[in-house]
């Protein structure tokens, strides 16, 4: 029987259509249909009058994790133009990106709870996320789509009591992670639902070019912040979290979930270290008024966004607006593995598997 888990559905995280071929309750095949949220991001970039105007558009690609999107694009433009940013900018960018990673993982964890039937952790994670969004609003004025990380620096310097508020948040959030683990992660019903479900073997993950927490959940020790380092990550002390199959097979949904929970703790460590080592300085580098790269310059830069390897390929034709921008969205590539891992499971498992991939349709469809 062919069933449509249509674009409007309470648990496909966004407008995603899954065409499921089902035999009783066992899934025989699952075909994702995407494109419902395509907004012509790459075409828009070609129409912009300068590179700085692309940043608000890059925000809106993965709207749950906007800082990392902006950073990747700014990094690409800066490397193409060979701009050096001040040290302070690097530290602040790291703090913002890690705060954003926590916020994004909170959404992932909360909605994963709803997928499995527990409605309460969602509300708790969103209360925590409000505090992060308040921090962002204090700094740059917006809660979700920031336009903060500019090419050559940042739009604003940190406000007056930002550091104290971040330290307060860290103190507040550590026990909340433990509470979330007690409520959801180690709950036996949740474990039984997610262990040995949607198993993504190591070699399949690597062949499909999966990245981010999904790849690390399958036991692959690969994190772009350590293996292809950018900014100051090599100076900070933190560990990528790997799934070890503690309650089931390596690479099942529970592993991906616990990787996200543990990554939030690691992000707290990174933020603490970055705050401790924050130097003084300017937050805007000296960049030319008209950003004009040389003709036929092209560059591909990849960063570790919340969902995986986010890459931007920019090609310039010598004018002030880019000739071609291509965004490699991690959610798009991660979603491609869904038919492989959903096969053989039940429909209830499909919901949990799709939720554990943590897609944001803005990034899948761009």
């Amino acid at each position: 029987m062919i069933i449509n888990m249509g674009p409007q559905h309470p648990s496909t995280h966004g407008v995603l259509r899954l065409e499921i071929v089902v035999d009783g309750e066992i899934i025989v095949d699952c075909i994702p249909h995407i494109g419902y949220l395509h907004r012509c991001f790459e075409k828009h970039c070609e129409q912009m009058t300068n590179y700085q105007q692309v940043i608000p558009y890059a925000d809106r690609m993965d709207y749950c994790s906007a800082m990392t999107n902006e950073w990747a694009f700014a990094l690409a433009a800066e490397r193409m133009l060979k701009i050096e940013v001040p040290e302070r900018v690097e530290y602040i960018r790291v703090i913002m990106a890690e705060l954003q990673r926590i916020a994004s993982h909170l959404i992932a964890v909360g909605t994963y709870g709803i997928d499995s039937g527990a409605f309460t952790p969602f509300l708790y994670t969103f209360i925590d996320r409000e505090k992060i969004l308040d921090l962002f609003e204090m700094t740059c004025g917006a809660r979700l789509l920031y336009n903060y990380i500019w090419i050559g620096g940042l739009s604003h310097d940190l406000p007056v009591n930002f550091i104290e508020q971040v330290m307060d948040f860290i103190r507040y959030f550590r026990p909340r992670i433990k509470m979330l683990n007690d409520l959801l992660t180690y709950n036996e019903i949740f474990v039984k639902r997610t262990a040995n479900v949607g198993v993504l073997p190591k070699d399949v993950a690597i062949h499909y070019a999966v990245s981010g927490p999904q790849l690390r959940g399958s036991g692959v020790n690969w994190d772009l912040r350590r293996d292809d380092p950018y900014s100051i990550y090599h100076k900070l002390d933190w560990q990528p979290q790997i799934g070890k199959g503690e309650v089931g097979t390596v690479g099942d949904c529970w592993d991906r979930h616990i990787v996200r929970m543990r990554e939030m703790e690691q992000s707290l460590n990174i933020i603490e270290q970055a705050l401790a080592g924050l130097p003084e300085g300017n937050v805007k580098a000296a960049i030319p008024k008209r950003i004009r790269p040389e003709k036929d310059a092209e560059i591909y830069v990849r960063t570790e966004a919340s969902r995986g390897e986010l890459g931007y390929y920019i090609m310039s034709d010598g004018t002030a607006s880019p000739f071609r921008v291509k965004a490699r969205g991690p959610a798009f590539v991660n979603l491609s593995v869904l038919p492989e891992i959903a096969r053989g499971g039940l429909i209830a498992d499909l919901v949990l598997t799709a939720g554990s991939i943590d897609i944001v349709l803005g990034e899948v469809d761009r």
């Binding site: 029987m1 069933i3 559905h9 309470p10 648990s11 309750e25 709870g113 709803i114 997928d115 499995s116 039937g117 527990a118 409605f119 309460t120 509300l123 708790y124 209360i127 409520l183 959801l184 709950n187 019903i189 949740f190 039984k192 639902r193 039940l346 429909i347 209830a348 498992d349 919901v351």
Partner: protein
């Protein structure tokens, strides 16, 4: 009950009045339970629920019911017309007839039949038919899933329920719910969950088994009502609304009403079998026919609170895990309890 019959000469009128009484009770109770669920759920989730209709939202359930009443009754074109229309009422009937045998107080019981407990278990199966009809007649694959899952679930969980009833019946010796409650009269120590009014040696040996039976019956009663963690038939994240998807307006309200009425029924059954029904926990203090109603409703309400608490804490079980729990955990343990209780009662 007899004095009401002396008031009106017409037997038919009396029967109709008496059978309408639980309906009034259901409607009032549903309003209260809806409000409780809303507020408890909200405060568990660190938010406030409705605050603007009436003081702190007390008029919201009435507003909800009014809204459902005035909605358009949409029937899908390809739906099976007769079954679609009849399904909600079959489900509600199955719930409603169970109210006939609930012992609300020593003076009032709808129908004092000698097969009370057995009747309850049997009437509960009518709800399954209603849900299956709804799932099939909706002409929607997701509703079909919901209906079939629900049928499987309810049938499997009737076994632990029936076994629990048998264990209590073994101790009390009667299927009549009024007699079971009278058996437990006289204070908290006489409740069956603590062994019943038996000599203390037997009581001590019985207590662990009755406690386990009580917990298992409570769990299976949650499954009978389709509430989390067993709410697959209406799993919102998977099946939109399960067998409810195509229903709107008053028909949906019927399903909703029957869900909450069922909630009360199973809580009431557990209460009257194990926790002394309408008898007061303090032997003769605060006891009497009118107090009986208060104790009965209060104890059932306490169990509904616990069910609401569970709903907002736990994720839901998958179909095969649900079956596993029913057949491989609840039923074997109940068989063990059955044997043990029978053995203890004999020696």
């Amino acid at each position: 009950m007899e004095f009401i019959q002396t008031l009106f000469a017409n037997q038919l009128l009396v029967s109709i009045l008496l059978s309408a009484l639980p309906l009034v009770f259901i409607v009032l109770m549903v309003l209260v339970v809806l409000y409780t669920e809303m507020k408890v759920a909200a405060h568990i989730q660190d938010r406030v629920a409705y605050m603007r209709t009436g003081w702190h939202g007390v008029l919201q359930p009435i507003a909800d019911m009014l809204k459902l009443l005035q909605k358009e009754d949409i029937i899908p074109t390809k739906a099976d017309k007769v079954l679609f229309r009849v399904a909600p009422f079959v489900a509600f009937t199955g719930t409603y007839v169970a109210y006939a045998v609930l012992p609300f107080s020593s003076m009032y019981i709808g129908s004092n039949i000698n097969l009370g407990a057995f009747f309850l278990v049997a009437a509960g199966s009518l709800v399954v038919i209603g849900i299956l009809m709804a799932g099939w007649a909706s002409n929607n694959k997701w509703s079909l899933f919901g209906g079939i899952r629900s049928a499987a679930q309810m049938i499997s969980y009737e076994i632990p329920t029936a076994l629990g009833v048998i264990i209590v019946v073994m101790i009390t010796g009667s299927l009549n719910l009024q007699d079971v409650t009278k058996f437990q009269d006289g204070g908290i120590g006489n409740w069956i969950v603590f062994g019943g009014p038996l000599p203390w040696t037997q009581k001590l040996m019985l207590m662990p088994f009755t406690l386990v039976t009580f917990i298992i019956m409570f769990v299976s009663s949650i499954a009978e009502v389709n509430r989390t963690p067993f709410d697959l038939p209406e799993a919102e994240s998977e099946l939109v609304q399960g067998f409810n998807t195509e229903y709107s307006g008053m028909r949906f309200a019927m399903f909703y009403l029957s869900e909450y009425a069922n909630l009360f029924t199973v809580s009431a059954v557990v209460v009257s079998l194990f926790l002394g029904g309408w008898s007061s926990p303090f032997a003769s203090f605060m006891s009497g026919p009118i107090w009986g109603i208060f104790w009965f409703v209060a104890k059932a309400y306490l169990f509904m609170l616990i069910q609401i608490w569970l709903r907002w804490t736990l994720p839901r079980l998958r179909v095969d895990q649900l079956m596993f729990v029913s057949w491989k955990v609840l039923t074997p343990w109940l068989f063990v309890c059955l044997l043990a209780v029978g053995f203890i009662l004999v020696i």
